[in-house]
């Protein structure tokens, strides 16, 4: 269950910000997860249910916002959308890309009261 530690980190971070604002509880969390981050959204969703138990986030809803993957061809510099780091460049046909976007694991915002 590899996503549990990520879920716990999200909850810890949300709690930290909520506590700083002297909030009573967290109502909502907006989480960004990149398609190339290695995190499986369904598994994270499942893990969150466990991670919120007994915390300020216990009653919170969360929204997981997928960030599409984007890569750059190392040979010709072409930037294109991709869900894999092993894709061939649609422009020059070469293999070998570097990540531009889609590695995110961020807590965007929380709603507290």
């Amino acid at each position: 269950m590899h996503e549990l530690s990520i879920a716990m980190s999200i909850v810890d971070l949300a709690e930290e910000y909520a506590a700083k604002e002297e909030a009573q509880r967290v109502l909502e969390m907006e989480i960004e997860v990149g398609e190339l981050s290695g995190v499986v959204t369904e598994a994270l969703d499942f893990a969150m249910e466990e991670a919120v138990a007994g915390t300020l986030c216990e009653k919170a809803r969360w929204k997981i916002i997928p960030i599409p993957g984007e890569v750059r061809c190392r040979a010709c510099g072409h930037v294109f959308p991709s869900d894999s780091l092993f894709s061939d460049c649609p422009r020059c046909g070469q293999a070998g890309v570097e990540l531009v976007r889609g590695n995110e694991m961020r807590l965007r915002s929380i709603l507290v009261e």
């Binding site: 971070l13 915390t55 709603l111 009261e113």
Partner: protein, 264 residues
């Protein structure tokens, strides 16, 4: 339940121990672990009842990253070089460490941190080589994190110029996400695992400095294309260095030792 401090189930909590002193164990330091359950918060003088948004915009693992930077600073100040060894279960991390320590211990001062979900087995193997070792049992946790290393290092008193070898929990997923404050990350794969590991676990290969292909003595018996692994690994990480060796026969170990000398 552990008998020393009456702490909860040993299966779930992170416990650190030294071989020969199994009776004494210690837990993670609490300083960075925030678990507010709302009790004390209710007493605060201003109450806000209306819902409001807080913009966080933080990397989920920012706290681990911060602690890892602290570890790195501590190592640098002492001239200690730390290596983080990651692999699937059984690729040969402990075997590699045992052999390396036996061959180089006159030359370098080794300290070892062993990460496993359960048991002291790996720490006992390292203990037999005569160098200081701490076992971290992560319970259900599938990776080491910076706070565990911070706690273990405090118990070790590592001298100037030493080499700290951290053997992570056997797993190619989560350890790739958790920076420990190491100088170099070494991913070990072994011939029987197949040659598509870099494709299946690109994040790990992207974040490693060196890839060791172990168990080359088994090449005659397994379909394993060395060229293919090199190609895959360089596709995700053109900078990665690649070494082939067999801990069992000793073939290629000298190149690994040379790499260690150049990097510590």
């Amino acid at each position: 339940m552990c008998d020393t401090c009456g702490c909860g189930s040993e299966d779930e909590e992170v416990i650190l121990r030294k071989p020969g002193k199994e009776g004494e164990h210690f837990h993670l330091e609490g300083e960075d672990h925030l678990h507010h359950h709302g009790e004390d918060l209710g007493q605060s003088h201003h109450h806000h009842h209306e819902a409001r948004e807080i913009v966080v915009e933080q990397n989920v693992l920012s706290r681990n990253d911060l602690l890892a930077e602290r570890n790195r600073g501590y190592f640098e100040a002492r001239g200690v070089t730390a290596f983080n060894l990651v692999s699937s279960p059984g690729a040969g991390k402990t075997s590699l460490l045992e052999q390396t320590i036996r061959d180089l211990k006159e030359e370098k001062k080794f300290f070892v941190i062993e990460g496993d979900q359960q048991t002291m087995h790996d720490a006992e193997r390292i203990d037999a080589t005569g160098v200081p070792v701490i076992q971290i049992n992560t319970g259900n946790g599938c990776h080491l994190d910076a706070r565990m290393i911070h706690t273990a290092v405090k118990e070790m008193d590592i001298p100037e110029g030493a080499v700290l070898m951290i053997e992570n929990v056997g797993n190619l997923v989560c350890p790739s996400l958790f920076d420990l404050g190491e100088h170099k990350r070494v991913v070990v794969i072994s011939v029987p695992e197949g040659d598509d590991k870099p494709v299946k676990y690109p994040t790990m290969f992207r974040s490693s400095h060196l890839c060791i292909i172990n168990k080359t003595d088994l090449l005659p018996y397994v379909d394993f294309d060395l060229e293919k692994v090199r190609e895959y690994a360089r596709q995700v990480n053109p900078e990665i260095e690649i070494l082939e060796l067999s801990v069992k026969t000793g073939e290629g170990m000298d190149r690994w030792y040379q790499w260690l000398r150049e990097n510590s």
